[in-house]
Symmetry: C4
Subunit: 236 residues, 4 copies
C-alpha cells in the first residue's frame, strides 16, 4: 500500500499553509488521517518548504506512533497530532502553525472571544486557550501537548468539530477538521478572526460578544441538518 | 436572453474583490443589476473563487427573488442585495465582504468617522453602523439585514449614493454604487479608510473630524454638477 | 519639442508609486520638472493606473499653469505642484499619495518625530504638519495647498531639500526631491518611517527622539560635502 | 583566489533579505566570512538591489578592514561587521536590516522579551538592546557600533550563538549565525518575533514571559547535544 493519495493531499495542504501566509521558515506542519488504515501522514521534521515533495510525507502508525512508511523523520510534533486523532473521533486533518495573530493571542494567554459572524461561521464560541504544562509533563512535551488539548475540550464540554481549534499558551494555534483540507480552512479562518479580534479591541477596548441569536444563526447556516449555505450538490 | 454581459461584469468584480485582498476563503460576494430587465446577477453560494466561472453567476428576479437563469444556488445573501436594490433607486451594484478593517469597525459597533479627504472623496460623512436585528427579524435573517440597511439610511436622512456603504454590527460591510464596478471602488475605499481611521486613533486617541469646508470641497470636487476631477470626456 | 524623456521618467515614477504600495485606486500623482524649459510633467486627472501610458503625461507651463502639450486634463493637484516648484529652487520632482501610515499621521494632525536613523537618512528632523486652510483659501484649494506648504517651511526656517516632505492635515503627504526619482525614494521612505513611528509609540508611548549627534551623523553620512555613503563614481 | 563561492552565497543572502520583506530601498546588507582566508564578503555601499550582481560583492580583509578584491566600495557598515566577526568566534554570517518591527523595538529603546516558543526556537532569552554611543564614539561610528555590540554581550554574559542578534537604539537590528544563511534565518525570525511581541502587548499589556522550563525545552529541542528537531542526516 503506497498511501500515494493521502501523501498527495497532505503535501498539498502543507504547501497551502505557506501560500496562505500562515508559515514563516519551517514553523508549521499539517497532517491527514486514514482512520481505516490506522495511519496518519505528516510533514517530515525541519525540511524547508521549497524542498518538500509529496513523497517526503511520512506515514506513521496511529497505534504505535512509529514510522510505517517513509525515509525521513516525521515532524517532532507528531505525538501531538496522534493524541488529537486518538481522542477526537471525527477529526481527519490537523494544521499547526505559528501564524502571526493567533500566536500573539496564544502569547497573551487569552482565549479569542467570538465577536462576529466570521468567527461564528467556523467556531461555535470562543477559541479556548489551554493551560500550561507542568515540569513533569514537559518531559514528554509533544505527547502531553496533545493530552492537554484533549483535557481542555473535555473540561469545557466542547465538541471538537464545533470549535475546531485551540491556542497553546506561549506557543501558538492548532486547528483541525474532518479532513486535511477542512483543517486548512479552519487554520486560515482562525488567523483572520484572531487578527480582526485584535483590531476590534484596538478600536473599542470593550466590544460586546456576538449576540447568542446571531451566533446560532451563522453557525447553523453552515453546519448541521438545517444548513442552507453552499450548493445542495456539494452535500450541505 | 443570455445575460452574458451582466454575468461577465459581475464575474469580473467578484474576482477583483479577491485580487484587492478584501476576501478570505469564500467570505464575500458581488452583484450587479439590470433594472430594465428586473434581474440581478450574483455569485453562487459557497463556490471557491478559484473555481468560479462567468457562467456560474446566477440570475435572480428582483421582483420574486427566485432564480431566473443559472444552474447553481445564488449566494445566501441574495435577499439582502435584493432589498437594497428595491429601496435604493440609483444603485446598480453591491459588494459584500468581510474585509479586515471594515469588519473590525463593524465588530466594534461604531460608525467610521470622516477623518480626511480619502474618506470624503467616496463617503460624504461618517459610514454608519446599523442596529442589531431582533430575534424575530433573525428568522428572516438575510431579508431583514437588507431592510435594516434601508431603515438606517431613512432614519439618518442619508442619500445612499452620497454614503455608498454601511457596517452591520458583529458582521461586516456592504458597499454599493451606480454599477458593480462602482461598488467595487467604494468597497476598496471603505476598507482603506477603515484601516487609516483605526491607525489615526492609535496615533492620536482624539483626532478631529474633517472640517466641514474641506469635506464639502473634496466630495463636490468629484461628485455633482460642479465636479472638476477626472477627464471631461469621461463625464466628470 | 516632444518632452518624450521627461514624460517617460514621470510615467515610470507614477507606475512605481503604485508598485511600491503607496497608491490605492487613483489616489496619487507624481510630477517632474524641466526648469530650463519652464514646464512640469504630471499625471492626467482620474486616469486608472493600469490604463496609463507615457504619452498620456501632461506637460504644463510653470509660469501660466496651463497645458503646453498633451490631450488630457492634468491632475487636479497640478496647482499645488506648481507652487512648490516655483518656491523651492532645488526641487525637480514631487510625489503626492494617500499612503496608509503617512496619511494616518496627517489625519492625526501631528508631525512625525525623528525616532531613528531610517528617518535621519532622508529627513533631517521631524516631518512637519501644515496648518488648515481657511474658508477663503479653500476657494482656491489646490493653489493655496501649495502656498501653505511653502509658508510652513519658511516659518519653520527649514530647507526643503533637508526635509523633503510634509503632511497636510486631514489629507496626506507630499514628498519631493531633486528629481522625480528622488521624490519617489523620499515618498517610500516617508511611508516607512511613518509606519515605524506609529509602531514605536505603540510599543513605548514615550519614546525619546533620536539624539542630535546621531541625527547629524546619519544625515551627513549621506548628504553634503562630507558624505561617504554609496559609490564614489555615483557622485557622493 | 576568486572567492566566487563566498560571493555567490553572500549575493544570494543579500537578495533573500529583500525577498523576505526585510529591506526597503537600500536599507540593509548581509555579509559572510571565510575565517581561514581571513576575509569577509559584503554588499557594496548604496547599490540598488535590483542592480546587484554576485560579482559586485566586495571582499574585505578581516585584519586590516581594507578591500582585498572587488571594484566597488564596501557597505559603510563594514567596520561593524568586522568587529563582530573578530570578537565572536563562531559567527560566519551577519545580516543588518531596518526591518519594520525589529526597528520599531530598537526605536522604543527596549529589549524584546521572550514571550513564546517561536522566539525560544531561535533566541535563548530576550533580544538585548545596546546602549547609546557617546559623542566621542560617534566619530568612529561604524567601528564603535560593532564594539558596543560586543560589549553588550560580554556585560550580559551572553553567548552570541545562543542569542544571535541585538537591537541598536534609534537604529535597528543586527542578526548573525554560523553562516550567512544561518544569519538570514535569524534575521527573519527576529522580525517575526518582534512583530508578534508588539501584537501580544497590544492584546495583553502585561503578558507573562515564557516559563523557564518551556524556554529550555524549545531551545534545546533544536540546539546542542540533545537536539531532536530536523533530520538526523542533516546533522541535528
Amino acid at each position: 500500500m503506497s498511501f500515494a493519495r493521502l501523501r498527495e493531499e497532505v503535501y498539498r495542504v502543507n504547501m497551502e499553509i505557506v501560500e496562505a501566509g500562515l508559515v514563516v521558515l519551517t514553523w508549521g506542519n499539517a497532517s491527514g488521517l486514514d482512520r481505516a488504515a490506522g495511519v496518519l501522514a505528516i510533514k517530515p521534521s525541519g525540511v524547508a518548504y521549497d524542498k518538500l515533495r509529496a513523497r517526503d510525507i511520512v506515514i506513521v502508525s496511529l497505534a504505535t506512533g512509529t514510522v510505517s512508511d517513509g525515509e525521513l523523520s516525521p515532524s517532532s510534533d507528531t505525538p501531538t497530532h496522534a493524541e488529537i486523532y486518538r481522542a477526537f473521533g471525527g477529526v481527519g486533518g490537523i494544521v499547526h502553525t505559528h501564524s502571526t495573530y493567533a500566536t500573539s493571542w496564544a502569547q497573551s494567554g487569552r482565549e479569542i472571544p467570538c465577536l462576529g459572524t466570521t468567527h461564528a461561521d467556523h467556531f461555535y464560541g470562543p477559541v479556548p486557550c489551554a493551560r500550561r504544562l507542568s515540569d513533569e509533563e514537559l518531559r514528554f512535551y509533544e505527547r502531553e501537548t496533545g493530552r492537554v488539548i484533549v483535557e481542555t475540550f473535555r473540561s469545557l464540554g466542547l465538541d471538537p468539530l464545533d470549535v475546531p481549534g485551540i491556542l497553546l499558551p506561549h506557543h501558538g494555534p492548532f486547528a483541525w477538521g474532518p479532513s486535511a483540507a477542512g483543517a486548512l480552512a479552519n487554520a486560515i479562518a482562525l488567523e483572520q478572526i484572531a487578527k480582526m479580534a485584535a483590531l476590534t479591541y484596538a478600536i473599542n477596548p470593550e466590544p460586546e460578544a456576538i449576540p447568542r441569536n446571531l451566533l446560532d444563526k451563522h453557525f447553523k447556516r453552515k453546519h448541521g441538518a438545517g444548513a442552507y449555505y453552499g450548493q445542495p450538490a456539494a452535500g450541505h
